[in-house]
Amino acid sequence: MAKMSALGKVKLFTPLLIQCRHKSKHFIQRPRPSHLDRRIFEAVTVPLLPEKIHDPYANCPRLRRRLQAVKEDVVQDEMENAYENYLMGICRRMLEENRMIIAFQLMAMSTREKVDIKRQLFLNGLKLKFVSNAIFSDTKWINLSPLLCSHNAYVVSPDVDISRVIKLTHKMPELILLGGLVNDQLFTREGLQRYAKLPDIDVLRGQLVAVLNATPSRTKSLLEHHQQTLSRNLDQYVKDNTEKS
């Protein structure tokens, strides 16, 4: 009867007969759904919590992750990385040992193509290296820094032979010449190309000697010129007179 009274609260229409089934036993795993009164009661007694204030630092996962990354990087910089130091040592040694360092920009190419290029250069006694400009700070190579943006490649060799490098890389459209450092001297792209066209140093020395010799010989000839013409004229004169007589 209690149930009936609960159901009959809405008095708009009162049926003559109300059926209400009472199960004999409670089924634990599937309890009967709550009736309206109980549902209202449950909804009213739900705990009310204060609304949380929006805190972007606490709620934005992206921001949180970035802050964490910054914090980690600071920690990383403080920590000494032995492996990084080892690789830095290799790079520094490479720069110190090689007298010719020529920078190239890399165009898009597959790894296979890159390997082919590397091999061709290696067969000619040259090496293709990839170095970031981070290690050049506070060294004598700091002046190279305009060439060290992005991820450039460097052709290095202990012997200076620019013409060979230019000749080889002329056939490689993937490598674009930027400039270089030869015998501790910076070269632009044009400078390198001009350098490459120059003949061998012995020939150049010969030419220099020739140039140097040219001036004294010319002075000598200029000084002797008048005397020679006079003697030549006198000779001619003597010859003419002897023929007449």
């Binding site: 209690a2 149930k3 009274s5 609960a6 036993k25 409670h26 634990i28 795993q29 309890p31 009736h35 009164d37 109980r38 209202i40 009661f41 449950e42 009213v44 007694t45 739900v46 705990p47 009310l48 919590l49 204060p50 980690e72 920690v75 990383q76 920590m79 990385n81 492996y83 990084e84 690789l87 830095m88 790079c91 890399l106 898009a108 190419m109 597959s110 790894t111 890159k114 990839f130 170095v131 970031s132 400009n133 981070a134 290690i135 992005s150 991820h151």
Partner: protein, 245 residues
């Protein structure tokens, strides 16, 4: 994640021809792993779920198994004691009451023992082997003639009870798929829990208790017969404040 576009040393260089972008494998100085937390391993040598007997030893005076009433109270309401993780790692928790018979126990044992790396992980039972006799009348029997014979033994479980526990030198992501597979096959709703989740739950409960702005709690309203709740409420509502039925 290991790839980091960075201005550090770059040795490896991959060029993608389709997009003309250079992705660079940089260095990430991963922090050393934290030292392993102190894990309390079980005392016995083999860290695997032990075989569960299908029937318990007969306790009756006559050497026979005694029949029992249904005692639905064994599965009704919240678990009072076995609600925490002994080893403070991972486990399965029942969300509602139910009965586990020998088949379920064997399924859990075989699945976990097969999938678990027993050299570094362990699993323990947190429920007793089946002890409660369930009677059943054979098929095609007429009603009457007294109580039926014992069909099987079960282990009753209340809501919130930990059923198995896993742990050792492992992480939640490692253990979760194993326990999840077991969880889905249990005869009641259950969930995979870790100690962290339990702690958070507890903290949330405390937070709700502290910051609840609703003065009308379920308990208070029921006690004072608000909204005529005495009409429909059951004694179990007074026991468990509407959380279990």
């Amino acid at each position: 994640m290991a790839l980091k576009l960075c201005s550090r040393l770059n040795i490896k260089d991959v060029v993608c021809p389709a997009w003309r972008c250079t992705s660079v494998a940089g260095f990430r100085n991963w922090k050393p792993l934290p030292p392993p937390q102190e894990i309390e391993y079980p005392k016995y040598s083999k860290w695997r779920l032990k075989f569960v007997e299908r029937t318990p030893q007969p306790t009756g005076f006559s050497g026979k198994h005694l029949k029992m009433s249904k005692r639905l109270m064994d599965m009704r309401g919240p678990e009072e004691y076995h609600t925490f993780l002994l080893h403070k790692q991972f486990g399965i928790r029942a969300k509602m009451g139910g009965m586990m018979h020998w088949g379920h126990m064997d399924m859990i044992r075989l699945t976990i023992n097969r999938k678990m790396d027993q050299s570094r992980m362990f699993a323990i039972w947190r429920v007793d082997p089946p002890w409660k006799p369930i009677t059943k009348k054979g098929q095609g029997h007429r009603m009457g003639g007294g109580k039926g014979s014992i069909d099987k033994f079960v282990a009753p479980v209340k809501a919130g009870r930990i059923i198995v526990e896993m742990g050792g030198d492992c992480e939640f992501d490692e253990v979760f798929p194993i326990l999840e597979q077991v969880r889905g096959k249990l005869p009641f709703k259950a969930e995979v829990v870790s100690q962290k989740m339990l702690d958070e739950e507890k903290a949330q409960e405390e937070y709700v208790k502290k910051n609840n702005m609703n003065p009308f709690s379920f308990e208070y309203c029921l006690k004072n017969n608000m909204m005529g709740s005495r009409v429909w409420s059951s004694p179990y509502d007074f026991f468990w404040n509407g959380k279990h039925r």
